[in-house]
């Protein structure tokens, strides 16, 4: 048994298209390290230069958002699923409505 990491579409170029990869249990920081070893450049995609998670990435261990538990120190166990979720957002706010001063 191991920990499954769900890879979002945007990072699958790094994983040769794999949508789910298996890693050894550890903290989220450890898991990202394992992914970096296997897929060089991975860490840079999910973490900032200051070593914290990219602000547009949400990480869940099963159904728990790691921001509310241990952040990068959150422990995982065999059988867990870790989901990396890129923030999905946008909108038309460069249009006329925004120019009129509507709240964003």
């Amino acid at each position: 048994m191991s920990v499954a990491v769900r890879i979002p579409t945007v990072f699958r170029k790094l994983t040769s298209g794999e949508a789910r990869v298996q890693v050894a249990p550890g903290t989220i920081g450890d898991l990202i390290g394992q992914l970096e070893s296997r897929y060089p450049g991975f860490k840079q995609q999910v973490m900032g230069d200051d070593g914290s998670l990219h602000r547009f990435i949400n990480v869940y261990v099963n159904d728990e958002d790691i921001r509310y538990i241990g952040k990068l120190e959150t422990e995982t166990a065999e059988g867990d699923t870790v989901s990396l979720l890129p923030s999905v957002a946008g909108g038309a706010n460069d249009g006329a409505i925004a120019e009129q001063g509507d709240a964003l």
Binding site: V10, L85, S87, G90, G91, D94
Partner: protein, 136 residues
């Protein structure tokens, strides 16, 4: 995608007015098979954002069904179905982004692939993806 699924997506966008509405699409073998109608966490007429917990629930559903993420959609309530600079700046998933414009009647649906040098890049190129609505 089928006319019925396209209508389901448009109706979700209409129901969300005056705010933008959003959601995701499930795909099987390249065909759109499910519209996931989701909440706009920003409740804004000019911006949208998916709630991460709801996004996770959609990914769980996709996995359970053996489907792929087929696209992300949102509405533009008063502008055309063309990616805004905000849409490009905040694009993340490597799937087509569908925009439903409610500025015209009937609503217009266009899809775009947003290509950036890095997923967090502020700018990028757009390529239109043909949308075929079956049975219309």
């Amino acid at each position: 995608m089928s006319r019925a699924l396209a209508d389901e997506m448009i109706e979700h966008c209409r129901a969300g007015r005056p705010n933008e509405a959003c959601g995701m699409l499930g795909a099987k073998g390249g065909d759109i098979v499910r519209v996931f109608k989701m909440a706009n966490a920003l409740s804004s007429p000019v911006r949208y954002s998916l709630e991460p917990s709801e996004q996770l629930a959609v990914y769980n559903a996709l996995d359970d069904q053996g489907w792929d993420l087929g696209g992300v959609f949102h509405s533009h309530t008063h502008t055309e179905a063309y990616p805004s600079p905000t849409d490009i700046r905040l694009a993340s998933e490597d799937v087509p982004y569908l925009i439903v414009s409610l500025a015209t009647e009937p609503a217009a649906i266009r899809a775009w692939r947003i290509v950036k040098s890095d997923w967090a890049a502020e700018t990028g190129d757009i390529e239109e993806v043909p949308v075929t609505i079956l049975g219309s």
